[in-house]
Point group: C2
Chain length 345, copies 2
DNA sequence: CTGTTAGCGCATTCAG
DNA sequence: CTGAATGCGCTAACAG
């Protein structure tokens, strides 16, 4: 109703417009905008504020960024938005960033880790102030550069040997949680199924914790690992078949390294005619909407994904605001959600 | 290895640095950068290009944006990243944008449509050049403003009465595809389950198509609709119970408006002890990873999500590059993926 | 063909 | 306490 839908592109409202409207100088407007309004006559400040409201003025983040070298932008690089874990983290991070007054720029690797360098470069060129990285960090040089340019980095889920802040799951707590449960339920021939490690520390940590557990419980169970590439269903079938064949009187169960793998294991079990919870036990990392409904329900290790995202964002924002100190590592606990896939009967 | 990890924040590399390095003026560098290098002596251009490479210089999009009023940024507002459809579209759009040289700024409503205005305002203030909106568009004023400022908008999935570009599913094709199949399989007591419409045109279109189908097939089937709020499982149970109770000799089946609803229906069926594909038919919009594994497998109407996202991005980019003309509507076809939930036996 | 100049919108000195 | 002037990094007229 206010303005008719002219097709003339209305030029951007600038600080000059406000200054003119309020009958003051740009500097004064700028001061009001930046909270230094307390240092001037209250009436003037009020007049300026009014003009701002009347015009509906908002400063251009671009210009601000250019001037002060701070863009209030955070770059988020995600390994694969198709992965529910990534999405959940993204969700928490986006919210926390926004609450802290930052906007998120997203770059999705789509599973192609080779594009990581491109991602960081693109984001950096947009002057993001810092990075949240859910990715492999293969390209050390890029990280190095970013750091050198004073751009803090927070890693999510996957550690690097670099001295960086990290927030992720407490895998050393999570794995025994799952395996103790499996053992208690009588599953004693354990198979850890993972995608190729490729330097993903979370996978490696889970694997290590798995091996450690198996070793300390050598009397009660046996444990092996199967590494199956993303589309190699044949390999997975083969691994499960072998597990069954060599089980003897033992009862075979799988620990899946993440949700996509958990789903693939469920699919493989179906293909091979193995009933989950009966002929094959299964616990999978990552709680999902569908976990209760696949087969007899999949028992999961629920990650506090939202909290991980928020924590990552908080940590980064603290760094951006000058928090110094050694790299910090936040390890959040997993929660076991028991369902039919790990309970015979 | 190259540079030691100094903690001195190295200042940003500017066009002046390159100019100095190459012994030319900024303008010359700028020309090379903007493809106008053909108009000058080849050696000079080469020298500049070399300096650029040597220094690893990349222009600041911020400064460019400020200067030319074009940010090469596209704003994407998503209703809820927890919805697989949203994610899939996001994926396609992000890719297409990047290929066209744009970056995506993401704003997730997290199901809170009230924040839409905030989203658009925030994005607009960052000088995004256009919007891809997967949301309700309740706040007409905001859209109006955006358009007036010359920022094109492409709607995804949900139309508005406003004259805007739209890309979404061909619901008029999709619904009969599903219902014909259900009828053929002998399901003749049809229930359309949806979340509250709330002005979401895709839901309304699906509902309308459902009603139209039922009317033209009045002799062969009966059809009703249940509207169940997101967390109101009781209402859903009630609707399914009623469907069963009043079915008589008819065979009851559900058409779920989207993947989350489909999943909820599957959960409800389990709670009520109804076997999918036997006592209850089910077809759900949206193909997902888990559809094959829930119950006997859920029959789905697969949306070409990636293509929807790409198309939206393409359409927007065309507008940004000056393509004039009437609002365009792209309606992409769905594909029926038949599984156990719709096939007795 | 190339260099000089003037802003884009803003925050921040520095004078007054 | 306030205004005028300067420059962030870049592009696009202008000159030469």
């Amino acid at each position: 109703m206010s303005t008719p839908p002219t097709s003339t592109t209305r030029p951007r409202l600038t600080i000059d417009d406000v200054a003119r409207e309020a009958g003051v100088s740009k500097a004064t407007v700028s001061r009001v905008l930046n909270g230094r309004g307390a240092l001037m006559s209250p009436e003037l400040a009020a007049r300026v504020r009014e003009a701002i409201d009347r015009l509906g003025y908002a400063p251009s983040p671009m210009a601000q960024a250019l001037k002060r070298g701070r863009s209030r932008l955070i770059g988020l690089v995600v390994a694969d938005v198709a992965n529910p874990f990534s999405v959940a983290v993204l969700q928490g991070a986006e919210k926390a960033c926004r609450e802290a007054g930052y906007m998120l720029m997203l770059f999705n690797l789509g599973g192609d880790e080779a594009r990581e360098r491109e991602a960081i470069a693109a984001l950096a060129s947009y002057q993001v102030e810092g990075f949240i990285l859910h990715t492999l960090g293969r390209d050390r040089q890029v990280l190095h550069d970013a750091l050198e340019r004073g751009k803090p980095i927070v890693l999510v889920d996957r550690a690097l040997d670099a001295p960086l802040d990290l927030v992720g799951l407490d895998n050393a707590q999570a794995v025994p949680l799952a395996l103790d449960h499996l053992l208690q339920q009588g599953w004693n021939d354990l198979l850890f199924v993972t995608e190729p490690m490729q330097g993903a520390s979370s996978r490696e940590e889970r694997h290590a914790a798995f091996n450690a557990f198996v070793q300390t419980h050598a009397g009660q169970c046996r444990g092996r690992t199967a590494e199956c590439a993303v589309h190699d269903d044949a390999a997975l079938d083969q691994a499960l078949r072998a597990l069954r064949a060599e089980a003897g009187t033992r009862r075979p169960a799988v620990l899946a390294v993440n949700a996509p793998v958990g789903l693939r294991v469920a699919a493989a079990a179906r293909r091979l005619g193995l009933t989950l919870g009966l002929e094959l036990g299964l616990v999978s990392f990552d709680e999902t909407d569908w976990a209760p409904l696949v087969g007899p329900g999949i028992t999961t290790l629920a990650q506090p994904t939202d909290e991980i995202g928020r924590q990552a964002a908080r940590c980064l924002v603290e760094r951006l605001e000058g928090q110094p100190g050694e790299p910090r590592r936040f390890r959040l606990p997993a929660r076991l959600v028991v369902r039919g896939s790990s309970q015979p009967g």
